[in-house]
Symmetry: D3
């Protein structure tokens, strides 16, 4: 069974990505620390989807959330990122080709989200920001969450 | 331009749907009240996607968030729901046919999210819950957000 | 090269499906007769996508547009129908599962659309009607066109 | 309820885009004028999908069909364009990446398509042309229609 | 790095599923035994996609390829099955709703496919059979392969 | 009806593409010769999907499997390639945009696969190789098969 909601990977990842300032972030990360989850957070804006993927992968590796030498870990992260991008793009996982751009914050959280330790470690990728035309102000909010076993 | 992040439709919709108990909900709804946004919240679980859509539409109508007699409003809501379901389903907007089921909370928020009043009213549909096999415990978290002008 | 626009399969199929009354239909079919194209027209409404496909296939067979005993012909028709349904459904080729229904007229046209006779026969499936909630009046127009070699 | 078929947005948009010469266009636009619909028409060919989207947006703005300063209007138009492109691309909203190109005419029509004035203004984007390999003649017809409230 | 091609999971899974008789199967399984891969094979035909998924999951559990009590394992298998079904369905992961049916053989293979043991165990699901109209003979071949870390 | 399994287009195309060395290829091609099927085989690696499509089309034309002057043949081949790419990409027919690359072998086989000669000629495109991050070793296997009448 999944742990109680407030101790889950996805919920904590989304709360971390929604945190706007240091105070809110501290509130979020102190709970993540209690849960002994590993996490990081970053920011990326682009019309090129591959740059979004690359930014998330790089941040995850640099912060030791995943081991970039182990394909197993990168494979788990990659599919979690693409799943999260489905929520952001809602139909076609594409940005510039469809004349739209995103400005996103992202968080990555890794840990044990089930009561049964045999379920092992899982990964959550959360995205929050705006999507819209490549014109300042012509945009609305967007969210995505990807979850994978690692 | 979109209002400051804490006053946006999508962010408030997602915080409302993430609220687990009355206290958290009150925290969320009191800010929604200040912003003069209309909102409601509900719960639905099913392997049939049309039941998810129907539950959200019915709740929105019953709570006066949309006018069920005006297609324009139902059209705006419908597309927002389907966009939110893309985040939940991540690839194919389908549940039972792919042997998976969801247990979701949903929130619907309606209001003016841009500084410029000419942008008029918009709608956010936020979803949070679990998706997985039709077997208790074989599931992980999922999130979706749909935004539309109304 | 494709023939001049007014002698093409797709354009004539769409004009046939758009014809509302006998007079408009006669205008359309007399040109189709001149071009020596085979054609038929029908009507179907359903929340079940397979019924739409079946209705078009049955009408095509009954009117001798395709030979139901030859898989080659049914394969060409099937893919043309599904391609046309993409225009109707715009994202996910699904109806009832997404809580929506259609009321469609369809036309099927078969003939030689290229100057070079070696290009052989091709098929066009055109769809026009409404799509929306399973509630009278909550609907908007929709169109689709599928083209395949046969 | 939608108005009678000959007075609808989508049907008129598709008839306008199908008009090949000035005479046919005049026939179409005189009816659009009677209906007090706003409309425009243009032409674009490209392997880059974003250029198709940009051409339609630019034409709509230049002809005053939408107000480029109001995101609400651009958002309505954008989704209508993408929905129309689903009919054109039939599966994946992509061109050059899949080694195909289009030559399209497009029309945009804006007005009140329902008997009930509370339904307000809606928008139709119609596309007609050819799609195929980036080699002259290796192409077939394609059509798309997107409808949105504005 | 992936092992040499003849020792890979996917290639062996596809060769196992292609084996038509006991002799061919023995040829395939003796190599799988040498590689110390776990594997099983089954057969399923249906217009209902969820029955295909269920049949593969049940066979995998019964043969001890995965542990049905551990969600991690069922999650890995589920996504591998759905990825394999993409190859079978080519566009929309759907059968009966699109008026088509499949007759499939499937194989599931589990083992260590990379030189580096830290890559751990992975899973391959291979599918081979026919897809077509629900009419005997109106069908063509289809193949799918899904790979996931477990 | 489809011929017996060992004499089918798709199965032979997949066995040809799986053949690793000259000996295995000879085994495969001698059976293809007996069946009087036309075939060819090639290799392509790229992050650009259009290069994969172009490489397969060019190889098919150069080897006389299709006539590049006849759109009918190129249309049949194009759709078979795209269908095969669905198996390879499993969700979104896209490579570089999603920060992934492929190294593929491909085979194309053309012939009469049904007992009834009226079914005429069909085409199979088979793909086998690896897909993954643009980093050596971070990749797993992938397969695709597309079948079309020609
Ligand atoms: Mg999952
Ligand atoms: Mg939008
Ligand atoms: Mg085509
Ligand atoms: Mg709509
Ligand atoms: Mg993968
Ligand atoms: Mg087919």
């Amino acid at each position: 069974m999944l742990k109680h909601e407030r101790d889950r990977l996805g919920k904590n990842a989304i709360l971390l990505v929604l945190a706007e300032d240091k105070e809110e972030e501290l509130f979020s990360t102190s709970h993540l620390d209690e849960l002994q989850f590993r996490y990081c957070k970053g920011k990326v804006g682009s019309m090129e989807l591959q740059k979004i993927v690359a930014a998330i992968e790089t941040t995850a590796k640099r912060n030791g959330i995943v081991n970039g030498e182990i394909y197993r870990e990168m494979h788990a992260l990659y599919h979690a990122i693409i799943e999260a991008m489905h929520g952001v793009t809602r139909g076609q996982v594409d940005l510039g080709n469809m004349l739209r751009t995103v400005g996103l914050r992202f968080s990555i959280v890794r840990g044990i989200p089930y009561d049964n330790d045999q379920e092992g470690e899982w990964l959550a990728v959360a995205l929050y920001g705006t999507i819209g035309a490549p014109v300042r102000g012509l945009e609305h909010e967007t969210i995505g969450l990807g979850i994978n076993h690692i």
